[in-house]
């Protein structure tokens, strides 16, 4: 491994899948790092280890598409979400995002955009998911829409901090969400109640966006911004489909979400 020069914009393609397979036997000619629980047993501690590995695989998009969290991991995911680690993970990512933002030469013409997703990015729906198995139950749109209409989702502290700091730096804030256009009013009210203000645009799924994958819908919306002369400097979302596709930001920040996956 030589030490190469630094720094490059990069792109990445992934496909999707979720399965967990047993370990086939292997024959080795030398020592190797052993996996825990490779004899098939899974103690409580081994389950914790596995669930940490699953969460890392999900966050890095190694897991690809998945429908519900592994049933063995409900306690582990709940512990993560209800403990300090979840908020800490958000805070560290917000710090990296802000450090990057401070290096951007903001032109002052209002064309330097930072995009935020809403659900699990600006607002937390943890109270809803806490009552629905932390992502272990299949997504149920009726009850989730009821929750959205309730309009009581709180802000993430780290996201609000980042949001306000970006405004102060002169970025134009665009909110790009998979929520439907008919949820515009309740979404605006919820955002304001949670402490957010001063966004330039709130982009929701219109009738023409129905049936599109989140990756396509959001890429198209970013593309339209670029056509209008905006420069998408940064993008923050909890889903890879918020960040990937085409017309991507100069830099993208993936905040954690071990509860659901939207392709």
């Amino acid at each position: 491994m030589a030490s190469p020069p630094r720094g490059l914009p990069i792109s990445f393609i992934v496909l999707t899948l979720f399965t967990f397979l047993p370990n086939p036997a292997t024959s080795l000619r030398t020592s190797f790092i052993k996996l825990p629980g490779s004899d098939g047993s899974r103690s409580s501690s081994a389950a914790d280890t596995y669930c940490e590995s699953w969460r890392l695989a999900a966050e890095t998009n190694n897991a690809g598409t998945w429908d519900v969290i592994p049933s063995v991991c409900v306690d582990s995911v709940a512990g993560y979400l209800n403990g300090d680690q979840y908020g800490s993970d958000y805070g560290v990512i917000a710090d990296y995002a802000l450090a990057f933002a401070e290096t951007v030469q903001v032109s002052g013409d209002g064309k330097d955009v930072w995009i935020f997703d809403i659900d699990e990015t600006l607002l937390t729906n943890l109270d809803y998911y806490r009552a629905h198995g932390y992502g272990s139950e299949p997504f149920e749109s009726n009850s989730f829409n009821e929750w959205v209409v309730g309009g009581t989702a709180p802000a993430f502290e780290a996201s609000l901090r980042l949001y306000n700091a970006l405004k102060k730096l002169g970025f134009t804030i665009v909110l790009l969400t998979g929520r439907d256009e008919h949820q515009r009013s309740v979404t605006e009210t919820n955002l304001r109640d949670a402490g957010y203000s001063g966004w330039e645009r709130l982009l929701l799924r219109g009738p023409e966006d129905q049936g599109k994958s989140a990756t396509n819908y959001k890429s198209e919306q970013r593309s339209k911004l670029i056509e209008k002369g905006f420069k998408i400097r940064g993008n923050t979302g909890d889903q890879w489909s918020d960040l990937l596709g085409f017309a991507v930001a100069d830099r993208s920040f993936k905040v954690p979400n071990p509860m659901y996956y939207i392709p």
Copy 2:
């Protein structure tokens, strides 16, 4: 948040940076998730929490380019690498990779390629890094090259298992490494001693590749494979620069490496 249809290849651009900033004060109108240690104090437990967050930020490429691991995280990273979690994380990713590989229609003409990086992907240099502060010391090419020439790096169990399973499925294995061409012989011997065999090509940096970023060098090599009619189905590496850029694989798998970052 509506529930969109599933499944899409996606691409992703990131830039790079590493800084850790203090939390500016924020004023809120409602409740939010609190970060631990936001008063500036950092107990041993808070340091652990931070270091877990740093590791996640590094693995997800949120941290961008970084030179050495945070000094406060040496114990945490050492604990991760020497404990069960590191091997478990590899194993789970290998399982996802294999599950994906089993869905690929391998044509039988030898054109379906799976690419592996070598260092920290097929072979572990943990013994070297254990003696050099687990990534807390700046990279020192002389001593690392001595280690490489020694040729004693063991295999990761999970990588060897994946490697052999992919061969059995009929994939053509290509090894693509940042090691220099003059290290070909010692690298081949080390790989064979560690249990690997039957690769189709071993691609190392030639004189014309010196000075190129890893992302560019590896993208160019993948591009040449595609020009020769190969289809790059999968790619496994410990660095984002193994996986991103252009001519990327149908699906890429990022194995963990909290010790160093190569752009």
